[in-house]
């Protein structure tokens, strides 16, 4: 169970070193993405001007405040509260994010499924679990909002954050076919019969 500090962007070799159960802290850059962002990018043919190659995306739609443009707020937005949403709804977008945009890391909560596991293994990517519902803490890891694209979808715009010490995050799905969620699911399946028996349910 190693800890890794990744200065974004990273190459495939850096990703292949990560194993399920390791922890990771991200530095430099992070991109915020959400349901509507990806529906527009992958179902409606819109493109982003951002170069996402080797980068990490986080499943988020932040609370932001409009402010005058400055060095601290080059896009005219200040972060108010930046958290993470449930990843499962965005399962089918993992592969196109990686194949079409070269994304290497997805940060989210609650896990992803088989199609993402396969994409991570094949193309060299990982899923990093953040603790959902801890946005006040997460916001302290965000330095500023550098840029924003597809902002007509606000708050589900594509956000470019400058980050500092973003983590620790848990490698929950690695690029070698391991998923902590699969392990937990198998455990629950194994224990289901005993749980029902404890409730007096006849088999």
């Amino acid at each position: 169970m190693a800890h890794h500090v990744l200065n974004m962007p990273v190459d495939e070799a850096a990703i292949r070193k990560l194993r399920a159960g390791d922890t990771v802290t991200l530095e430099n850059d992070l991109f915020g993405i959400r349901d509507a962002t990806q529906i527009h990018m992958f179902d409606r043919g819109r493109r982003t001007r951002f170069d996402l190659r080797g980068h990490a995306v986080i499943h988020t739609a932040p609370n932001v405040r409009k402010v005058p443009i400055s060095n601290e707020a080059p896009a005219g937005y200040a972060p108010v509260c930046v958290g993470t949403t449930t990843s499962d709804r965005m399962e089918r977008f993992t592969r196109p994010l990686m194949a079409e945009y070269g994304v290497r890391i997805v940060v989210g909560k609650g896990g992803l499924r088989e199609a993402s596991l396969a994409a991570f293994a094949e193309l060299g990517g990982v899923y990093l679990a953040i603790i959902g519902g801890t946005a006040a803490l997460e916001t302290t890891w965000i330095e500023r909002i550098v840029d924003v694209d597809l902002d007509d979808l606000n708050p589900e715009s594509l956000w470019h954050f400058k980050i500092k010490g973003f983590g620790p995050l848990l490698v929950a799905i690695d690029s070698h076919g391991n998923s902590l969620y699969d392990t937990v699911r198998a455990t629950a399946e194994d224990r289901r019969a005993a749980a029902l028996a404890s409730l007096g349910v006849k088999a």
Binding site: A61, T86, K109, G133, T134, V184, L196
Partner: protein
């Protein structure tokens, strides 16, 4: 005795205040729930996850920030006692204005969109939202507003099944266990699993939400429901799903059950889940003044 009159402007201010407060300060019963889970947790990862959640509660209070980015769908439960004079329609309008003002003035992320066009008015409002439930209660000269910002991660963990009488209580118990397993980490455990049993389909789901948003430590007023919630609370925490679905003992703070009478041919069960950011805030108006609480 003259009627106790509540000013509409005060309702609007309270609605605005409660929405923001609910997003920032977790109720004491939920904090105590974390302490209890943490003390009993045996998993190493699960311990670390709970520690981060507990740290976040402190960070939110110290930095005066929102606990979670999800501002939710705003729900207001309004309880009106005897001898309260209020214009009901104006009350509903005032709650809507308070929600819109909180969203614009704070500013909060508006998480509410039109269901078909997905257009966001940036007011946390829209058709039939905020959700306003009005009840008349045996509490003379008081009006209570309870605000619940219901997050989507756990609200998407909502399930209804119109079981039949032959499925019995075993069918209800099996449904609850299977839906908790299906929800896994998606609903941001540790959760409060709200279970509605009986009623019509809509009443069944409504009481599941009443159960999910009840304070920890409260007990179902129906003794049969109370027995079942004890059994289910113990059972779900044997599944090993754990906080965030990453494994551990702390899958749920509790399972809460609410019941309603149902039809001879029906046996409905609903599950509605509340995530660990189990946020509530309340304002009680009475001749003694305005009391803010959870």
């Amino acid at each position: 005795m003259s009627a106790f009159a509540v000013e509409i402007a005060a309702i609007e201010e309270a609605a605005k205040y409660l929405y923001i407060r609910a997003l920032k300060v977790l109720p004491d019963d939920i904090k105590a729930g974390f302490t209890k889970l943490d003390a009993a947790e045996t998993g190493r990862t699960a311990k670390a996850v709970l520690a981060t959640m507990i740290e976040n509660i402190g960070v939110a209070e110290r930095t005066d920030n929102l606990l979670c980015q999800d501002t939710g769908i705003p729900i207001f439960n309004v309880e009106i006692g005897q001898g309260v004079a209020i214009d009901g329609f104006a009350l509903k309008e005032a709650i809507g204005r308070g929600v819109a003002r909180a969203t614009r003035e704070y500013p909060l992320r508006s998480s509410v969109v039109h269901p078909l066009t997905r257009a966001n008015l940036h007011t946390s409002s829209g058709i039939r939202v905020p959700v306003i439930n009005i009840d008349f209660v045996d509490r003379p000269r008081t009006l209570r507003l309870e605000m619940i910002p219901k997050g989507s991660g756990s609200e998407n963990g909502s399930f209804l099944k119109m079981l039949i009488p032959a499925d019995g209580i075993d069918g209800i118990k099996t449904f609850v266990i299977d839906r908790v397993m299906e929800a896994g980490g998606k609903v941001c455990p540790p959760t409060i699993v709200g279970v509605g049993i009986g009623g019509t389909s809509d009443l069944c789901m409504h009481i599941a939400k009443v159960a999910a948003t009840r304070p920890l430590g409260s007990v179902c007023s129906d003794p049969e429901g109370a027995k079942l919630e004890q059994l289910l609370s113990a059972a779900v925490n044997t599944l090993g799903i754990g906080p965030q679905g990453l494994g551990g003992d702390s899958t749920a703070f509790a399972v809460h059950v609410e019941t309603a009478a149902t039809h001879i041919t029906m046996n409905p069960v609903a599950v509605n889940i509340q995530c660990h950011s189990a946020r509530r805030a309340s304002a009680t108006f009475s001749p003694d003044g305005l009391a803010i609480g959870f």
